[in-house]
Amino acid sequence: MDSKENIQLLIGNEAIARAAFEAGVKVATAYPGTPSTEILENISRYKSIYCQWSVNEKVAMEVASGASIAGARALVAMKHVGLNVAADPFMTLSYTGVNGGLVIVCADDPYMHSSQNEQDNRFYAKFAKVPMLEPSDSQEALDMLKAAFEISEQFDTPVLLRTTTRISHSRSLVRLGEKINLDERNYVKDSKKYVMIPAYGRLRHELLLQRWARLSEFSESKDLNKVYLPVGKNTITKIGIITSGVSYQYAREVFSNVPILKLLITNPLPEKTIRGFAEGKHLILIIEELEPFLEEQIKLMGLDSKIAGKEYFPQYGELNLDIADRVYQQLFGTELISEHEGGARGKLDAAPIPASDSNLGELLSDVPQRPPVLCAGCSHRSVFYILKKLKAAVMGDIGCYTLSVLPPLNALDSCLCMGAGIGQALGMEKANPNLKGKVVSVIGDSTFFHSGITPLIDNIYNKGTGLIIILDNKTTAMTGHQVHPGVGKTLSGDDTVELKPEYFAKAAGVKNIRVVDPYNLKLLEKVLREELERNELSVVVCRRICALLEKVDKNNVATIDQEKCDKCGVCIRFGCPAIQLRDGNYAINELLCTGCDVCVAVCKKGAMLKKYKKFIKI
């Protein structure tokens, strides 16, 4: 076959999806979350794989585990914090093991490009004694996922494939392979393996430890550890680098004359390989993002070389070429990298600083930030506009609406994790009676199905009197409009039940349930005011489909009557990006305006008009 045809430029997530196809995966599940979302989106293009968005990561993992027990290869994907939600099945899956191969793909987000924390999920692998593979580019993402399924079946264990944002969302060249032929595995009832009562759990824990010993041997395999040995007279001999994942790329580019051990398996660590690599070297530099995960374990090996990592590299955020360069400069000219060994990366060459850097700060000091905003026509905006007016404490949640924390709405008081707001609001009210009637919780529809139902039950059961607002825009908007149980469609596009959040409130016995269109600003204010004052638990569902999913009638956009406008600025403080200031006058950007008309109600001067009304007036 023509090799050129088989090389594609793929993001890591696309490569993982391709690998799932090639590895013969039958069932794939996920809950969307940046930077992992595109894995399942791309898998859904392969008709040979059943795939589904689950309500949350825990359920997704359980469905995948069931598929594995039934004999199929199964994959479950999630972002790093998703593994917190799925930690319960994850920890015990390590005991039960698998039938068909089971791989958990987990995408960490150092620097928190789109996350609430930057936890280092490598510790989960160590915690659960689950083998972990870490690719350093898209090709390895494909290769390692396939290897992960082999390991899973060979050792009867789930396997964690850990990526980071720069692996998930970077494009690099990938050589595609063929779909492999798998022998069918049958379902065999095996209570001692899958029923984790204490007596069987004890048996499995022992087996787990035996498996761990075998995996430790296996981790020395040449395919899972790559050594880069530079050639030429500039080769540094006293230092060796141990690294993995995207950190390898920074190390390889900057420390191009230093030997590098790239670990593709980072749990368990290949101790013999590491010892062999370190032999005779004065310094082993560990280059890894976030926690000193490799560093601490390698230090415990008691090698003769000095082990250093976090004394040179930060323990937060992402690494990059500049950081690696700075460390190179620190070592350059010391006994570890002598001047002649520095070679091409001499002190001046390595980190060129633009001549202008000195005055750059001054020149750029007034460059305005450009924070992400709620879209024009976003149905969430009016809710936060009213809540701000009502001076409510708003316990928020995870989704587009988290953006309401930013100016000009400044509406959120809290955002902790998926589903947290409802419980937090109850805690506030119980702790401080003065807050009664002043605290609301706000949660999106997808987030409600993910983890809002149990805290709703907790509220009614424990006699909460707060106001729970469900922002129902009929989609999982933040991650790119994935379907969920409230949409009426499955991932494959089939019709299914269309669940509404108010059904659950009703079933739980909430007496005060109201559904309101958030585009109707006056009614929305009336409803929220009444329900906030009520001394009983209320649920208000604000339902309006995401503005990005609705067709816009451009004949119906808003316009401003300049004669009536006294430039009071109320509309600007509403925060819609379609309302702009042009040559000193407020104006509507017709490209952005969706014609939602909420601003017409926001304006107290009658200057904000529907466009067609203006025509009538003339």
């Binding site: 595109e38 720069r166 969302h169 001549a355 924070p371 990006p577």
Partner: protein
């Protein structure tokens, strides 16, 4: 901000500038150096498409290539960047210093100018998108962006790509105008661009994108 009004001079200057860079990079890429391009702009301006087309063109020209994209949060009207690295063998997918910066919005040119490698080149779209904080009068959109840029580097070019795209009745093709102008700086195979565009835009928008690219290329 109409520094390039004089059309005749402009053509010659642009050609001289771009051919100098093209020759330099033809040599440097052979030596194994990695060429880093940074695209900046505002969510919705077609940054991801521009990076993808450039990357594909580089791949077709026989180079290794890596692209870094921004997904998720940044797409909600925020400041967006994407980068492409081209070479015999590319390692890091992200850049720290850019040999070229293509700013699809003017303020973003200023925001990212500190990433420009000494001797690197900056291509700016003469187009302003005000951040929300400017409308609420909490901040001001800087008036003298070109002056500030020229204080930092002489290697820049400002193109009214939106005006050119509007001739085709498609403001969204401004990114292709810029990419066309930028293509003159790069030692890639001449026929790689059309196929790269073809592979990445929907068929009904193909002609307009190729036209926009050519208008930019022949500026």
């Amino acid at each position: 901000m109409k520094k390039y009004d004089n059309k005749n001079n402009k053509n010659n200057n642009n050609y001289a500038k771009s051919s100098m860079y093209l020759e330099k990079w033809e040599e440097d890429l052979k030596k194994g150096q990695i060429l880093s391009v940074l695209f900046t702009g505002v969510g919705g301006q077609g940054i991801i498409l521009a990076t993808t087309v450039l990357a594909k063109a580089a791949q077709e020209s026989g180079f290794d290539v890596k692209v870094s994209e921004v997904h998720g949060m940044a797409q909600r009207g925020g400041s967006v960047e994407g980068s492409v690295r081209i070479g015999k063998e590319v390692f890091s997918p992200i850049i720290n210093r850019a040999d070229f910066i293509i700013a699809v919005e003017k303020l973003e040119a200023l925001r990212y100018i500190g990433k420009l490698q000494p001797g690197g080149f900056l291509l700016v779209n003469d187009y302003e998108i005000y951040p929300s904080t400017v409308f609420s009068k909490d901040t001001e959109y800087p008036k003298n962006i070109e002056e500030r840029i020229s204080n930092l580097t002489k290697n820049y070019m400002i193109i009214d790509a939106v005006e050119i795209a509007l001739k085709l009745n498609e403001i969204r093709a401004a990114n292709m105008v810029l990419l066309g102008a930028f293509s003159n700086f790069l030692p890639l195979k001449p026929d790689c661009w059309n196929s790269a565009i073809k592979e990445n835009v929907p068929s009904k928008a193909l002609n307009i994108n190729i036209e926009a690219f050519n208008l930019g290329k022949n500026l």
